[in-house]
């Protein structure tokens, strides 16, 4: 059985994601689609709207056959590490190809850009250094460096989705992997679009915006019916959907009951960010105001949100340093269809990493971090918190 991979967050699953899965099947000619999906916390440094279990169910209902968890340390990291963890896991689980969405749908543009950049890497690094010394963030400096190169790149790497695609290609090259990359052209909606717009495809950002403005009915057009059902079920079960505001009281408590040197122990707290956080906290009674008070040219919004996540989850530099240089040590199955199950059976013997279906039966550093952060994620619910806390430990893989 031939498998193809996708890298996803599904926050929440919408019509664009459905299209992506269908197109992936079409272009890769695979009969099993493997989704590597982030758990409770996401790459932009945010808690997921819905739990990993609800999102797994949506993935399987929408066309994925096997959902593998991208561990916290990759899922909440910069594009390069996020992509490396994802492609590594897809390769580890035997995926012959992977397919990502892009503006152009032209995978060779990504490959050529990668190769061209390789030949100019010293020049590129020098530009990045220069722009960062002028006070820019790394992504800001890199975006400026791309267009400063002598031989211009044919891909706009300042766009987040292009960056991710580029990093997938780079990860596959680093891994020396035979995995074949594909890209499909995205329909409508930019990655960051905040309005719902015409047609039946909108960005997840726009959908979340609508959901939190109590316009959930309005957003219904842009998602399969099972997503709408998951959203209403989760609200029923937990009293709310998750966003940063649900966790702001805990972040406040954590920051205000810690000394600057204690905060500095947390991952991604660098260059005195702990002091800025404490000061911003004193001025802000909600997370959005806090972020505005915290924001500087030096750091992107995303980078700051990720730092906040690590404080919230109490993930220290020491915790991360123990796993940062190692690839994922296990393959965690969050859910599967019958096809996914057959596929797993067929490749089980050739897997080099252990398969994890029950967290409590294993002892990996990355998995322990998953358990710890899941307990924190469960503190965000408005009702049935004891049930939410047990989900991570008691939920068997979702079968659809």
């Amino acid at each position: 059985m031939k498998a193809a991979g996708v890298v996803v967050e599904y926050n929440p699953f919408h019509n664009g994601h459905y299209y992506h899965l269908q197109e992936t099947k079409r272009v890769t000619k695979a009969s099993c689609i493997i989704a590597v999906m982030s758990g409770n916390f996401l790459q932009r440094g945010e808690p997921a709207l819905l739990s990993k279990w609800s999102r797994t169910k949506m993935a399987l209902s929408g066309g994925a056959d096997l959902v593998i968890e991208l561990p916290y340390s990759y899922a909440t990291s910069h594009a390069q590490r996020f992509a490396f963890g994802s492609i590594f896991l897809l390769q580890a689980v035997g995926s012959e190809s992977f397919c990502f969405g892009s503006e152009s749908g032209d995978v060779t543009a990504f490959q050529n850009t990668h190769d061209l950049l390789e030949t100019q890497s010293e020049e590129f690094d020098a530009f990045v250094q220069e722009y960062m010394s002028q006070g820019l963030s790394y992504p800001g400096a890199a975006a400026k460096a791309y267009v400063s190169l002598e031989k211009p790149l044919h891909l706009d790497l300042s766009k987040p989705n292009n960056i991710l695609g580029f990093e997938y290609i780079r990860a596959a090259r680093i891994l020396g992997s035979k995995i074949t990359p594909f890209s499909i052209k995205r329909k409508n909606a930019g990655y960051h679009d905040v309005s719902l717009g015409k047609g039946n495809i909108a960005s997840a950002t726009a959908i979340r915006e609508a959901v939190f403005s109590h316009d959930i009915q309005k957003a219904q057009n842009y998602m399969p019916s099972f997503t709408f059902q998951s959203l209403t079920e989760e609200i029923e079960k937990k009293g709310c959907l998750m966003n940063w505001e649900r966790f702001y009281p805990l972040l406040r408590y954590q920051l205000l009951s810690s000394s600057p040197s204690e905060i500095n122990l947390f991952y991604e707290i660098e260059e005195g960010l702990e002091y800025r956080m404490i000061e911003a906290m004193k001025l802000s009674s909600d997370f959005q105001s806090f972020m505005k008070a915290l924001k500087t040219k030096r750091y992107t919004w995303t980078r700051l949100q990720r730092a906040c996540l690590h404080v919230l989850n109490k993930i220290t530099k020491e915790d991360m340093n123990q796993i940062l240089d190692l690839p994922p040590a296990y393959i965690r199955v969050l859910g599967m269809t019958e096809t996914g199950q057959q596929y797993l059976r067929s490749i089980k013997k050739s897997l080099e990493l252990p398969l994890v279906t029950t967290v409590s039966k294993h002892d990996f550093k990355g998995l322990n971090m998953e358990a710890k952060t899941s307990l924190v994620y469960a503190q965000g619910v408005l009702k049935n918190s004891l049930g939410a806390e047990q989900e991570e430990f008691k939920t068997p893989p979702i079968m659809v």
Copy 2:
């Protein structure tokens, strides 16, 4: 000017407290009444219903002339340390006497009991050891030891209020202080009575019970009008009154995001209590259920609540060990009347400890602990949390 002292929590101030202050004036013939009062967290291991500032205002409205803060490390400690810190501060601020309420009102009974116990201290200690080895808590073992002595004591030291009186006497003796002890007979209401009962005096416990059962009108008979006003003002300003339930989400978060060895660093977490806490937490969605799951014969309810306070406030054994063997290092004025102000002026030059009116101008370990725990206390409010956080640093002494 002659000053007499009282040791108080005013949680909240009620008619019995009013009577205590009037009687203290009468029996001591003092013209200035000094109240040593706990800050935001109390001896039974609970957050105070109202902030220290509201309670200071009530104290001054009710007959006290000067309110001095009992630091966190004493205010949330066992009776002996609580009493030592209180009497030490009263002596340090020049109080010639102190007066406490008791069942009998007979201070000589306390003094005689103290002296008689001194002569039997070895026997007493042996009994305590024996009873503790049978699994009793220290207070339980001590209560049983008191009645096992060869020469029986004439005071029932199993009653919390008698224990406190006894410890005040002991503290005065240890300090070799010339401070004269007085006791007045309490009117009605036992310390732990939970019903409001007849007359216009009820225990603070019964009043809090009524307040949290939305029977605040019913409790009105048992308190001066200024207490009722403070309660309604605080509800208006902060959206709620404080109890443990307001802090349970933070305690949960703290416990569930920490390893047992991290929890073990906190003060009063001994003998594997960290494991019991984690297990009890998994079963309990509110603080009362949590405490019931945590309770064993080995520890009193109060002792366990105090341990929870130290976890909530992140007060470590190391933090406490730095100050445990030292007496209070400063005198913090929370408020005063004109009389109190005159008194302070008259004794200012002879004070051996620094007077603190603005927290940010001083750097004492005990005061830093006060600041830290005040920030945590402020996290319990339902509205105006930024204002609540600044109270500790921006409130000048209350003048009535």
